[in-house]
Structures are given as structure tokens and as C-alpha cells.
Symmetry: D2
Subunit: 345 residues, 4 copies
């Protein structure tokens, strides 16, 4: 059994980790920290876990995280980099679901997250936790920067095209839509039911933190200069992410060959489903599961390919992906504890 | 492995059975019938099942249901009673999720479902599939009438009070609220998103089919005459049911004793959670799980007890309960394949 | 033109007043106060008002409210009673949408709102702002306590029955359901989209502030002792309230006579619609309008009558009702500026 | 008073016309036809109209539409062109909310709508009902093809850029999102609450009827060849449309000049609101109103401009726009009966 600790278990990625671990056959939950809720049983805050998670939140000071095999940070940006050095020194692996170890470009990190990076040398050894594109490094890593939700869809959607060199990498347009849980469990006006329900809006159109992360990763897949215009939108649904990715074709390629690029790329991937050409994946077909689905379109057989990507932002876009990384780091079957069938309807 | 067939796999209780079976370790899915979709892969209609359910819908005529160990009917009322005799004769167990084998009172059945009952003698041997109140009969049964969603909440909510004889059984008021999936997957105006969203209404206030079923079962729990006023409402959510049950106390009893009635009644039940006195259970704490949660209130310490009951109408209210019955009928651990943690948020 | 001021224009009842006033032919908006948003154009916070409301929020200190003809308080409980004396002394009428002037029973006020009442003598002259039951007093009043949303439905639903003396007043059960906007525009976890959406729950079952208000008012309609069990629930919709009211009949009365009680009571009321006996009113049929609709049921022709009442909690349940009072206080046609057709779908 | 008839009053654009007309000071509703609902009071189907619309549906055969001044067709494609000749011959003006008179390119019409056009000569005289771009023709017209909902947003969003010649017209990308009411009031599985709620998907990505209409109209605004990639998506909300329009800049132009193009183009338009540069308009700021709001972005000050456009798909995207045309055709103030303030929250 892997002894697991969670720092920051009160947010949505935290409770999603708890849900997954409660059904994971190789995990023993050791500690869930919350300074504010110290002593409160986890299942009191989340009655969905009654009878399934027996421990209480503990103060970070008392949590004995160094006795864990791995600690997940489901915390605001900046927390993991403060605590990771001590844990790693004690032989504990670390998986950060925030941004502290995602961006190798420290200047970009500091610009977008508005804080200095406190351990640049650790950052260098951190593995970017997207198994489909970085599996071997994850297996060997003791420190993971878990990808952002939007970047996961953009990378898996563009990767086969960029690797094959069939698109103009300089003018990618990613029009992305996320469920409201992506905003986290924070007391804020903008994500109140009465504000976000029966409504649709874009946000961060002039610039969003997930652009530099995505650009850095996409740049590894091609020698061409990558340019990305990323537009996030907020959808009145709890979970789910839909990315509509546009790319101009730079080479003559027919639709069957396009489709083959994706099917070949992901044929052995348990969590990436390439649907038939021309399909319209729905976010709900991934709800509460670690699946990500992709479908290709070529409107009017023109020079633009449209890649549709859906996932559950809290699972493949966050906590499920983190557990997938953990499985790899500890030599488990990659799918262990992650084979939940999506909840539909 | 139990060989399972599903008649009518295209509705919501059907696809929920498919979701549960895809994760059930002791089930081998043999056939899913749909006359209309004969030949279509199940996962084409429900892409959430891609890679998890490999078979196609088959016409009822070709489905070889007699080779199954058990057949579930997730069909409109009237279908199961037409096919059950042949299956039972062939040694196949039958679980009907519709109303054909719920009501022993044939006159009531015929009044409310507006069709004659075609096999009254089979009806007599059918077990009512509510394990918490009828477990031993279910274990021995070859034919199950799976309870309605509303009746499940009303019975489990009122049972400890009726058995203890502490309430006035003659004037029960059950104000119940259901998510829209309870109306099924039928092309109808009234359950369109644009009709049912951002809206709330009662329906069937002057009389609803679930009243006679509930009355018949509640009557078994007490010698008193049971009177029930049942008011269903439609909530703009997909899954979930919340029953607010009112009863006047007929005996002097304090709150601790009331609470003890429920805790004692359900202390060994894996799927019934009695929450602390005065709790407010939320439907989402049962979402996509087989859990049912109960909490008691005594407003102003007056003479009325209020019982709040929540469940997922498609799981404990339908397909999960049916699988719970199957587990019992085949001597499996009752919780096999049903221990999914509720999906929250 | 009536010169109107609004104290606390940033909440939902405040912006609803602004929406109504922007279309009210006899109102000139003088000031909208918000200490926090001083100087911000109202239409910057609420772009729905761009081009329709030209003024900015002003600090309460600078708002010159004493130059208004009437000031509405769309504020937390306790604000209006602090400022009302000065305004009234300056000849300004006051309409409070909070609870400061609703309850004549000061002990009850202080128990439920947990603050001393600062002007009991003003409270005595305050008129309870429910025109259908208190029209003449409102016309003459200079100070209005605008009813709570739930109490409006309970009073208009029970009044004809209580006045006629046909029900047992001692054991009323009101099972009520409200849209989320009733919780106000406050940064709170419990009303986040990801918490309140796709979910249903009761709250305050053991006791709620709207009980004493309703009891006090219902008591005026009958000499019998009134007992009320009031259970509020939260519905995942923005606007709308549905009250399901139960009462045992104390006299022999047929359904036509019951229906006549309501039709007679409300035949001249522009904002109360008595639907045909046995109807199921939907909340959306009142959306964004000042209409309240009522329908009667008599399940199984038994001894219990069920009254279904729907309204928009922000309009007839709050701001629209307040404007209705204003119209009466200033001698306008009662319906002025309030004849918006409900928005459906 | 203008005598108005509506053919097909049972769908969402029909009931929205009824809602608007019930508050329009210059309209007298003469007839609302529905073959299926002949004789049923309109307010029985739509209780939101109780007390506001007194007439019943009448069979098209009896409706005496030739006595109207104007007839609106809120019908499926193909109905208006069958009946328009007789009405026009009788001196009745016709406004079709479907596609019969939108596309001058008959081949495109027949390809996309899969029916022959029965009156090509009438089509030639039909005015395209987008007042902001075609006001003078509408004023003189007796026959209007009311624009599609998506095309309205795309045209008003791209028009200033195309007219000024500052963008590459050959590769426009319009990523559009619509509320579910856009699918109409039809009994269909795909738009059931349980299918469309808590879900997001694209549809018609490989080709959609609104492309040829938009292309034909955009072509009038520029001598350049226009190429458009249009991707519609379905949002779990009732009303609202959000179009995210991308265009590569073909000329050196700064952001202030871009903004000025839009402010100049729409400075006298009562229903088009150009928001400050960099704003994020929300669909709900137009809910139940005829307003359309636009905001510009220039991500990273790069070579791509992003135009965000929101409207209520049933009002400015359909019925409100049709009434706006009617006002122009009959010499009324263009805003008559259309100045409803958006409903927020």
C-alpha cells in the first residue's frame, strides 16, 4: 500500500483525490491537511465520503507528511514549492496540482503567477505530468508538476499534428470552454449559482496563465515556432471541458491520413479515445472519469483542421491525471483505480 | 460469472445498468436488446461506454435471453410480464425495473397502469425488491419487482417510525422532489431542457402511481390503517431525489429515542446512512452511488417529525437497487460492484 | 415624477429595483448608495443596465437621500432601522426590503435576527407591505416593512382558507422551495454554482426566520390558534419560488366551494392569478414578473387541501412587491411599471 | 394599431412574439394559428400569458390572415413561401422567421434546406431583415427574411472590420455558442434536460445552414473573397448566444482605431452596445431583451483581433429583430415595444 498525504484537501481537486483514493486498491490515506479545518472529520465537510474516508483534517504542522510515500498538493500556487524541498529530502515523492512545477521558464512563471520561484533547482528536475507525452520521465521522477486542465486538452489535441509537421504551428487558435468547478471552491461572487447559471462568457481573452505552459510544451514537439491564441470560456456546468482547436494545414494530407495520425499516436493509451472522424464528443461522456476523447473535422474539406477534445476537468484535467502519474511513479498498472465508467446521464 | 441480459437498454435505467455492469466483477453481459436499434453498437448510442461495453443491441427475437442467468427489464410497464413466463420456465431469473411485479393488488395495478395483468399467478411469487425490508425473500426469489424510486425513499424513511408505532399512520404527508431523469429518455416537450431548466413544479398532485405501491408496502409494517398524501415535484437537476416526510407523533418520544430507532434499524445496512439528528442531506452526496441518506428533524420540538431522505433516483432508486437484488439472488456479497463513491462536486 | 433613492443597490433585490425603475414611467432615480462601490457607474457593475441607468453608486454619506420622495432599503437586516428615523423626519417615505419593520413582535425580531430593535416606536406605525391583505394601510403609510418572499406565498395561499374558517389552523404544513437568488449576492461557498447546481436540499428545517413573520400575519386572519411547520428548500434555479401548502379541512366543503373562496378573494387582484382547480403552476410562468399564481388540489378527495403557489422571489417576493407598495403610497395606478409579461422559456 | 397575425405560435419564437406583442403599444393581435391546437386558448398552452393574451389558436384555414396588416411566420422552413404569395397579393406584409427568404442564392437554399424554392421571384424582392445593415430596404419592404440567430452575431461582429478592409476576409473563424432554445420546441431526445444539462458539445462542425447565409451577407460588405469557418456549440442554458470571432489583421492598425471602427459603426444604433475594449460581455446581460453587445480584444497585441458578441437568441436573434423590422416597415419608432431591460440575475 502506498501511504498518501494530501495538502489542501478542502478544494475540488482535493476532494476529487479523496474520491479516487477511496476506491484505489493500493492507496492508504495517511493525512489530509487543512489549517482552517484542523480536527474536522473529512466526511463532515464532504458527506459524500461518509463511511469511506474516516480521517479528519489535520493541521499541516501535525500531519507527519514526511512519513508518507507521496504527497499531493491540491493547494493554491506557491504552497508546494515552499514545502517540497523538505519532503523530497525526506524521501517523499511530490505531485503538485498547482503551477509551481509546470513551467521551466521561471520568468514566465513569475510574470503570470506574480511570485518569485523559491526553488529553481528543484524545478529543473521536475517532470511535467502528462503521461501520454512524457511517460518515461514521470516513471523516474520524484517531483511532478501536474498539467493545467486546458493545457492537457491543447497538448493532446495538437500533438499528433505538430509532430507530423502537417500544420502551420505559428497561428494555432484554441477556443476552450470549461465547467465552473475549474474556478475552484472559493467564496467569490463571479461563480455563484445566480451569476454563472444560465449564462456564458469568455474570460482572460487578452491573456491567460495556461498559454505559456502550453506554448512551452508544444514547443518540444516541433522545431517550428509555435504561436497560440487561447480563449477560455465559462460554461454553466459543474464538470467538463471542451476545447475546439483550429489549425491551418501546411501540407497536403487527406482526412484518412489525418485520422491515422491520431489513431497511431494514441492506440495504446488507455485514457485517450480517438473517435471516428467527424464525431462530436460531448463533455458528459467523460464525466467523473479519467477519459479524454478526441474527434477530427475538416469543414468543407478546406485547409483548416478542427480538433475537438473533451475531458472532465477535475479528473483527466487534474486529480485523475495526478493519480495516473502516481501509478507510474510507483510501478503500478497505470490504470489502477482509474477505470471508472463515465457517469451518463 | 453471472450471464446477464438487459431488455430495453436504451433508456436511463438501462444505460445505468450498463454502467454498473461494466465495473461489476462478477457479471458477463450477454445481450442488450432494442428492437429499434438492432445491430447498433451500444457504445455508439452511449459513447461514455466506448471501450467498456463491446456488444451491440440485438433484436429481442435474436437475443437468446434464455441462455442468460438473469434478465433485467428496463422497459415500459407491461413488457416484463409478457416475457417473464418464458424466461422463468427456462430457469432464468427476472428482475423488472418497471411496475409489472410491484403491486400485489391487481385491481390497483390495472387502475393505475391501465392494462390488464397477464400473469397474476407469477405476480404472487414475485418478491418486492427492497433489500432493507425484504432481504430474505429476495434471496430466495426468481422474480423481482424492483421498487419505484419515490417508494424506496418513503418506505425507508417511514419504516422505523411505523414499526415502532410512534406516529399517526393515518395522515402521512410525503413531499417529494425528483431530478428530471426520473421521467426517462423519451422525446417529450415537458422534459426538454428549455422547459424543465430554471423551473420548478409539482405534478400528479391529485394522484400518482407510486401511492398505491407505497401504501401496500407500508401497510405491512403496521397494523394501523395507513393514509398517505404523496406530492411529487420536478427539480431542474439530472439525478437525485429528495423526500421530505412529515408524520405526527402519536406517542411521547424524545429526539434521542427517535434517532435511535433509525440507527438501530439501519446499523448493518451498507447503503443506508443515518446522519446526525438535524442534518440536511443533499442529493449530490449520493450522486451516481447506491447510497441513501436519512436525517431527522423535530421543528420547534413539536409533535411532528420530519424525515429527510435523499438518493440517486437512477441508482438506489432503480438500477443500483436491482443489482443489489441480483447480488442477493446469486449469493454474492450484497455490495459487489456497488461501492462507488458519490460524485461530488 | 417620484424621486427615488436606493440604499444598497449592489445586491439582487437592489438590481431588480433598478431594472424595474428603468422601465417605470413615474420614477426618477436620484441615488443608489454603496459605500464600497462609491463612484463606480451602476452599469459597470451591471452591464445589463448599460444605457438605461446612467448614475454611479454614491457613498451613503453623500447621497442626499433626504431630497428623495422615497428611499428603498435593499440592505442587510438592521440598516434600515438605523437610517429610517432621519429620513422620515425629513418627510421621506421609507420601504425596507429587509426584516426591520416586518415583525411587530420585537422579542421575536430580536431572537431571530440577533440584534436589538433600535426604533420600536417607528415599528408600531410601519405597515406590512402585502397589498392584497393590507392595501389600505399601505396607502396611508410612510414606512413599509416589505414581506419576506416565503411569507408572501404562505399568506396568499392560506388566507382564503383561514378567513373562511374551513381548515384546522393549528397544523399547517408549508413545504417551500426557492431559487438560489433568494440567498442574495454574497460570496459564499454554499451558493457557488458547483455546490448548488444539480443538487437539492432542505435547510433551516428546525427553524427559519420566516416562520414568526408568517405566524404573526396569519394570526390576524383567524381567531383560531395558528400552528405552522415551514420547511424551506433550495432549488437549482436562479429565480422562482414554489410553495406546497397543506391543510386539513375542518369543515365539510366541496371542491367548487374551495375554488370559489380563492376566486372571490382575488378576483380584483391584478397580480394574483387563481388557476383552474387541479392545475400545476410552474415557477417559470412568473419569471421576471410581479405575478403570483395559485392552484388548488384535493388528493383522493380526502380531508386535506393542497395549495400550490408560485412567484418570482425577486419580484412579487421582494422588489416588485415593494414597487407595488410605492405605487399605492403615491396614489399611482397600482400596476404602474409592473406589467411585464413573464419570460418563458 | 397594427393588426398582427402569427402563423405557428406554439414554438419558442412564436411565444416570444406573443410576449413582445402583449407589451407592444401599437399592436393588436388578430390571430395565432396552429393546426394542431385549434381552439385551445393560447394562455392554456403558455400560462405565462394568462390575462395578457386572450385569443385561442385557430386553424390556418379559419384564421382570416388576409385581414391582418402583417403576418409573422414562426414556422418550420418551407411554410412561409407556400403562403406568402396569397398574403402579399392581399396587401398583407410578411415577415418570415425561418429561412425561406434569407438566401438569394437559390441553389444554396435548396442544398441546405433540402426543398425546392416555390417562389423565386418573391425571393428577389425580399429584404434581409437586419436593420443595422439593411435599414432602408427594410423600411420599403413588404416581405422580410428575418436573419438566423448565429448570422446576426457574425455579421454585426465582422461588418466594421470588413467594411474598413483591415482584416484578411478569406479565413474568418467564428466559434459560436448557443443556448438550447435555439433548437426549438420539438420533442427530441438530444435536447432533453437530462441530455443537454451539465454538458457541452459542438455540432454541425463539418457544415451548418447558417454558413451560406452569413457568407452571402458578408460578401456584400467587401470586395474581397470571404471565407468563413463557423463552428456552433450547444450551451446548457435556455437563452443566450455568444460568438467568439477571430480575424487576422491585414493592415497595421492600433487598438484605439479598431475600437473606433465599431463605435462609429454603431453609435446611433439603439440595440447594439459597443463595450469598452477588452471587456467580456456575458450572455445574461442581454437576457429577454433586444440588445446585442460587442467587445474587442487583441491578445498579446498580436495580428489577430477577437470580437466577442452576445445576444438573446430568441430576441435580437429572432423575434425581437422581427418586431424591429415591423416597426420600421410601419413607420413606427424603431424601438417601440422593444426597450425591455435585460433580466439579470
Amino acid at each position: 500500500m502506498i501511504k498518501v498525504g494530501i495538502v489542501g484537501g478542502t478544494g475540488y481537486t482535493g476532494v476529487e483525490l479523496l474520491r479516487i483514493f477511496a476506491m484505489h486498491p493500493q492507496v492508504q490515506l495517511q493525512a489530509v491537511t487543512s489549517r482552517k479545518e484542523d480536527g474536522m472529520p473529512v466526511a463532515e465537510m464532504y458527506p459524500s465520503l461518509r463511511g469511506r474516508v474516516d480521517i479528519a483534517f489535520s493541521s499541516p504542522d501535525n500531519a507527519k507528511l514526511t512519513e508518507c510515500d507521496v504527497v499531493f498538493f491540491a493547494t493554491p500556487h506557491g504552497v508546494a514549492m515552499a514545502q517540497a524541498p523538505e519532503l523530497l529530502a525526506a524521501g517523499v515523492k511530490v505531485i503538485d496540482l498547482a503551477a509551481d512545477f509546470r513551467l521551466q521558464d521561471i520568468a514566465a512563471f513569475e510574470k503570470w503567477y506574480k511570485m518569485p520561484h523559491s526553488c529553481p533547482e528543484l524545478l529543473k528536475e521536475a517532470a511535467y505530468g502528462l503521461p501520454e507525452l512524457n511517460r518515461e520521465n514521470i516513471k523516474k521522477a520524484r517531483l511532478i508538476g501536474n498539467p493545467g486542465c486546458y493545457p492537457t486538452t491543447m497538448q493532446l489535441g495538437y500533438a499528433p499534428l505538430l509532430k507530423a509537421g502537417v500544420i502551420d504551428a505559428s497561428h494555432l487558435i484554441a477556443d476552450c470552454k470549461s465547467g465552473v468547478s475549474g474556478a475552484g471552491r472559493k467564496a467569490e461572487i463571479a461563480t455563484l449559482f445566480s451569476e454563472a447559471s444560465d449564462n456564458f462568457k469568455a474570460y482572460g481573452v487578452s491573456g491567460h496563465r495556461h498559454s505559456p505552459e502550453t506554448l512551452e510544451q508544444l514547443g518540444k514537439l516541433t522545431d517550428d515556432k509555435v504561436g497560440l491564441l487561447f480563449t477560455p470560456h465559462l460554461v454553466p456546468m459543474i464538470r467538463g471541458m471542451h476545447s475546439t482547436l483550429y489549425a491551418r494545414l501546411a501540407k497536403d494530407i487527406d482526412n484518412a491520413a489525418l485520422q491515422a495520425l491520431f489513431e497511431d499516436a494514441y492506440k495504446d493509451e488507455p485514457f485517450v479515445d480517438v473517435m471516428p472522424f467527424g464525431s462530436h464528443p460531448e463533455t458528459r461522456t467523460t464525466r467523473a472519469s479519467n477519459m479524454l476523447r478526441i474527434a477530427l473535422h475538416r469543414p468543407d474539406n478546406g485547409d483548416t483542421v478542427v480538433v475537438l477534445v473533451v475531458q472532465d476537468n477535475l479528473v483527466k484535467g487534474a486529480s485523475g491525471q495526478a493519480v495516473q502519474c502516481m501509478n507510474l511513479m510507483f510501478g503500478l498498472e497505470e490504470t489502477t483505480g482509474l477505470m471508472h465508467v463515465p457517469v451518463l446521464p
